[in-house]
């Protein structure tokens, strides 16, 4: 994707997120909606920076990893402006950002509905196994190390 297109796409999603965030957080006044704009713009800049890094920095590290890392870095206590950034992005609800994504996902999934129906119940069974797998394996390791350290 061209850098110009990335900027346009991020700008569109930022506007979409402004709507979902305003309704999720039950913004009652125009001021509350305007207050969320700086946070959204900061997130848009972080997202763009990460995508551009993934595009131009060799090593094949996915854009998602770049974006998370940059977002983490600029909010670590002690980073210049971290407190300001943190205060602003706090006004953007995490779950509200998911709604636009799944709206696009819903429309795009339309063309694979048959495949979804075929795999549907299997994925549900698998999801349970995935949850059990991560929980039990983590518990086994934690139990073992805590025992070894004499903490339990």
């Amino acid at each position: 994707m061209k850098t110009k297109d990335m900027v346009l796409a991020i700008a569109i999603f930022t506007v979409m997120s402004l709507f979902s965030n305003a309704i999720t957080t039950k913004a009652s006044s125009a001021a509350a909606i305007i207050n969320s704009i700086p946070g959204l713009c900061i997130l848009a800049i972080i997202a763009l920076a990460g995508m551009i890094a993934a595009k131009f920095i060799p090593g094949g590290i996915p854009a998602a990893a770049w974006v998370v890392t940059i977002g983490c870095l600029v909010t670590v206590p002690g980073f210049p402006g971290a407190e300001f950034i943190n205060a602003k992005v706090k006004l953007v609800n995490f779950v509200a950002l998911c709604t636009p994504i799944l709206a696009y996902a819903g429309i795009s999934i339309g063309k694979d509905l048959d495949a979804f129906q075929k795999t549907g119940w299997r994925i549900v069974v698998l999801a349970c196994a995935v949850f059990i797998g991560t929980y039990l394996a983590s518990a086994v390791i934690a139990q073992f190390i805590l025992k070894a350290l004499g903490q339990i």
């Binding site: 994707m1 796409a9 999603f13 979409m16 709507f19 997130l43 848009a44 972080i46 990460g50 996915p62 998602a64 990893a65 974006v67 998370v68 977002g71 983490c72 600029v74 909010t75 670590v76 206590p77 971290a82 950034i85 992005v89 995490f94 950002l97 998911c98 709604t99 636009p100 994504i101 799944l102 709206a103 696009y104 996902a105 819903g106 429309i107 795009s108 999934i109 063309k111 509905l113 979804f116 549907g120 299997r122 994925i123 549900v124 698998l126 995935v130 949850f131 797998g133 991560t134 039990l136 394996a137 983590s138 518990a139 086994v140 139990q143 190390i145 805590l146 350290l149 903490q151 339990i152």
Partner: protein, 270 residues
């Protein structure tokens, strides 16, 4: 990108879904939570040619080409959730840090089951991690969310969103009652990168072991922060390669032939 109709449809979906709001449903042992994102997904699907035919072929294709980018705003927010907690994360104990590798348990249990159930490349998306937001972004970027891998990760993500909380709450109760594991170990295991799942699991443990309340809550929260930090890197560097490898092994055992490669579009073509 410049498909105005698509963006107008999406905006309408967002507004309608958010207006409906969160619907919690109590079912005795806990709560199932329906979030606006789920309605947006379902309504979006209902607009496609199979049903209402509002969103046509062009909209579906444009939407799928954009999903990778839509996830980046969420990932930025995700990073800013982790950042402020970083000093606390770095101070965590070795038990907390090492139990993070338990998150790879999804691969060991998930891949064989997925292949047994007859799933193909869906396995890669569904079993490589516990399928929270960063994992969805990773799969979306590498394979696209409209391919088999994307169906897998989206399926588990949705399941986690709808009944993950209740599942983790019940699982923690059962493990606590079995008495095999120390409650501290169970609290550490609860942090899988989802605050609601962790809270439910720790909540169950606190109800059973009220005198350990503070430690359980602290271990759960710390482990969840850790998963937030390492979850994505763990998936990129260990989880995903391990899943691919194990999938090929089990595929060969079941079908007697080499597993076909992914037919999904690669990131550089997107």
């Amino acid at each position: 990108m410049k498909n105005i109709k698509l963006h107008a449809i999406v905006l309408a979906l967002i507004v309608i879904s958010e207006m409906i709001g969160v619907i919690p449903i109590s079912i005795g042992i806990g709560r199932i939570v329906l979030l606006p994102m789920l309605y947006a997904l379902i309504f979006g699907m209902l607009l496609t040619p199979k049903f209402l035919n509002v969103a046509k072929e062009k909209e579906m294709l444009d939407a799928s080409s954009l999903i990778g980018v839509t996830l980046m705003l969420l990932m930025a927010r995700y990073g800013t959730l982790v950042g402020p907690t970083l000093p606390k994360i770095l101070a965590a104990s070795p038990a907390l840090i090492l139990q993070e590798f338990g998150n790879l348990g999804t691969v060991l249990l998930g891949v064989p089951l997925a292949v047994y159930l007859g799933l193909k490349r869906e396995t890669i998306g569904a079993a490589h991690s516990v399928a929270r937001e960063p994992n969805v972004a990773l799969i979306g970027e590498k394979f696209g969310l409209d391919g088999a891998e994307g169906r897998g990760v989206m399926g588990v993500y949705i399941c986690g969103t709808v009944f993950g909380t209740i599942f983790f709450g019940v699982m923690a109760s059962v493990c606590g009652a079995l008495g095999i594991f120390h409650p501290y170990a169970l609290a550490m295991a609860a942090g899988v990168g989802s605050a609601s799942m962790m809270t439910a699991a720790v909540g169950s443990l606190v109800a059973m072991f009220p005198d350990m309340k503070d430690q359980l809550a602290a271990f759960g929260a710390a482990s969840n922060m850790l998963s937030g930090l390492d979850g994505l890197y763990m998936s990129v560097f260990i989880g995903l390669p391990m899943t691919e490898w194990l999938y090929r092994k089990f595929y060969k055992i079941k079908y007697g032939v080499e597993a076909p490669a992914s037919d999904a579009k690669k990131e550089d073509e997107a």
